[in-house]
């Protein structure tokens, strides 16, 4: 088979993402209800009714990378939405105002699904969508975990809401809830979560890492948008086999030399993703650690609703500072990282404003140097490339010195 015709995981995943949008458009034409959902909503319940879901966060990231998000945000702002709101929300409101998007269009929803395990602003965002479009809102409130493990009462609370979502979806779809189908979807989704987790773990102790960490941001599209589908299982199996092949051969799909391995904290600045990748490449930096793509490594046992609830409630934004710090410390160890680069993301208050303290605690536990840069996941106005590069270069210089010095500073700071 000619090289250009070879099916790669990247091609397969891009194809599946396109398919998810196409299926939603086709369903819309047939009069099948289409939903919009937050990115870490328990989609299992919707999937078992066979209803297509689209993810505004994915769409906003996609149009941000294509440089269309600002024009949509300005539409939302001119309607009266505050510039301090999340840029994904503003892009989504702008999409409705604009009547669509040039680069990645979505049909209007017939129902919306919201789970606040990733963010609390989504509640108002989705309430606003439901009110504006006069459509049902399926809301699952994942209580914040302020004491380490997810308590049984929080799990019970989540499971009861999950059951109520089934009642709502019976009305929306006109179909009866089928527990067998849910069992099937849960098995596929959890398998996909496990495979995604495995694919992210393959860089551990492997030099060079078998991939450029930024590729995860492309691969993750299907674990976000197509988590309950068998095709995703196939794509991730292919991805894992590609990565294992690289490991076996001592090769990598990363086109840049890997001199330093870092963890990058937060959602990428999608409007500048190419610039950032190039800058990382220029300094030989690979992102082998990241907590953000792990959000979708949702693993539980088949038929275990409590396990599903626990997985969805344990999101990195829904846990206390100690747990958040642990997630980062583990990601740094798993990625054999030598430094941390924090994205002070002006959209994501929840993930960003805790960074000053979290960064200090992570530093105390690991001794690794860190730097921070300002940006935004979808609003191009909050980023300065020169500022970004100076901070990246500064971090690289500290890592370089510490490498020469056996991995640490010359004294304990």
């Amino acid at each position: 088979m000619a090289e250009e015709n070879k099916i790669t995981a990247m091609k397969m995943i891009n194809g599946l993402l396109a398919k998810s949008y196409k299926e939603a458009w086709e369903a819309k034409e047939k009069g099948i209800p289409v939903g919009w959902s937050t990115s870490v909503f328990p989609q299992e319940i919707v999937e078992c009714f066979g209803l297509p879901l689209l993810y505004p966060e994915n769409q906003a990231a996609g149009v941000a990378a294509k440089k269309e998000s600002l024009s949509l945000q300005e539409k939302a702002e001119s309607r009266g939405y505050s510039i301090d709101l999340c840029a994904y929300a503003r892009t989504n409101f702008g999409l409705l105002e604009n009547g669509g998007s040039e680069n990645l269009n979505m049909p209007k929803p017939d129902f919306v699904c919201c789970c606040n395990n990733i963010c609390n602003e989504v509640i108002k965002w989705y309430e606003s969508l439901a009110r504006e479009l006069n459509i049902p809102l399926i809301m699952i409130d994942a209580a914040y975990n302020n004491s380490g493990e997810v308590s049984q009462s929080r799990i019970d609370y989540f499971v009861e809401q999950f059951k109520e979502a089934a009642n709502q979806l019976e009305k929306i779809s006109g179909k009866k809830f089928d527990p067998k189908k849910l069992e099937e979807v849960m098995a596929i989704s959890s398998e996909n979560g496990k495979l995604w987790k495995e694919s992210m773990s393959l860089s551990k102790d492997v030099y060079p890492a078998p991939m450029n960490g930024f590729d995860l941001f492309s691969y993750m599209a299907v674990i976000v948008c197509y988590r309950g589908k068998k095709e995703t299982t196939e794509a991730f199996k292919l991805l894992i086999s590609e990565l294992k092949e690289h490991i076996k051969n001592g090769t990598t799909s990363n086109r840049c030399e890997e001199k330093y391995r870092i963890m990058m904290e937060g959602i990428p600045c999608w409007p500048y993703i190419g610039y950032k990748m190039k800058s990382f490449g220029k300094y030989g930096v690979n992102m082998t650690g990241s907590v953000y793509p792990h959000a979708w490594a949702l693993v539980y046992e088949k038929n275990d609703l409590d396990g599903l609830a626990r997985a969805y409630c344990s999101m990195f934004n829904n846990v206390d500072l100690n747990k958040m710090t642990d997630y980062r410390v583990n990601a740094l160890k798993d990625g054999n990282c030598e430094g941390v680069f924090y994205h002070m993301n002006r959209s994501c208050k929840l993930m960003s404003f805790i960074q000053y303290q979290m960064a200090r605690e992570v530093h105390e536990k690991t001794g690794l140097p860190y730097a921070s840069f300002d940006g935004d996941q979808a609003d191009p106005r909050a980023f300065s490339d020169a500022q970004f590069e100076t901070r990246l270069q500064g971090l690289v210089e500290v890592m370089e010195h510490q490498k020469e010095n056996g991995g640490k500073a010359d004294d304990n700071n």
Partner: protein
């Protein structure tokens, strides 16, 4: 053996010629930064004053905002590492360096050998930088170099609460319209800058000795306000605006001897 360090900032170009990595032969500052004739002029000035040729320079290292666009350098090194290096050369027992430049603010933590071990830079916006003071000097009809001296006469500094440079300028205009003394307004501006910079520096940790560099370190009013905000004495080296270029020249020497 001669090496040259060049620091092309956003508002000024600075250069140092170093002999054998030890002796400062010549320094130059031109108050035009990257993208202007400043970089070329500072180099010419250095060569003229030192009576040396470009070919006498064994290595040139460039730092600062314009470091990536300059051709002919052996290496480009960030101003973070260069300031750390330069300050450690001048003040060997330095622990924390605070650099307020034209466009950004840096707080650097150094290890005992003078190497950069961690740093923080300004976030969200560039309020409190040298450019902020330039804008204020403009509306106060004062030379920016005079701000420090004038502020020392203040008895009742005003409160400047806006972070935004434009809104802070409006506050200054309101105070001027209300007939408040210039010295009290300027002292208020310095306190507001110091508050922002001190909060940033405390985040990375303050370790004695604290040294301030960058163009703004020449402003005695800001330095005093910083000492109050940190509760620490601050040392300002004579070559405060040149520590980035000095560090670059030192790195150039090291690169030759590696």
């Amino acid at each position: 053996m001669y090496t040259m360090g060049l620091d092309f900032g956003s508002t000024a170009s600075k250069g140092v010629v170093l002999k054998d990595g030890k002796e400062i032969v010549c320094t130059a500052i031109i108050t035009s930064g990257t993208g202007t004739s400043g970089p070329e002029r500072v180099k010419e000035k250095l060569l003229k004053e030192s009576n040396l040729l470009e070919s006498d320079m064994e290595a040139v290292v460039v730092t600062g905002y314009g470091r990536m666009t300059y051709q002919g350098a052996k290496k480009q090194i960030s101003e973070l590492s260069c300031h750390a290096k330069g300050v450690h050369f001048l003040v060997p027992d330095v622990g924390t360096v605070i650099d307020i430049g034209g466009q950004d603010i840096k707080a650097l933590l150094l290890d005992k050998n003078g190497n950069l071990s961690n740093f923080v830079m300004n976030d969200k916006c560039a309020a409190g930088t040298g450019r902020f003071l330039d804008v204020m000097a403009g509306v106060l009809e004062t030379e920016v170099s005079m701000l420090g001296e004038i502020s020392m006469m203040s008895k009742a500094p005003v409160n400047i609460s806006s972070t935004c440079t434009v809104f802070a300028e409006s506050e200054v205009i309101s105070h001027l319209s209300a007939g408040v003394n210039k010295e009290d307004i300027i002292a208020g501006i310095h306190i507001s800058v110091a508050g922002r910079v001190a909060a940033l520096a405390k985040r990375v940790g303050i370790k004695d000795k604290v040294v301030m560099v960058g163009g703004v370190a020449k402003n005695i009013g800001v330095v005093k306000a910083m000492e109050d905000a940190l509760g620490k004495n601050i040392e300002v080296p004579k070559l405060a605006q040149l520590t980035g270029a000095l560090g670059a020249a030192l790195f150039a020497f090291e690169a030759l001897n590696k």
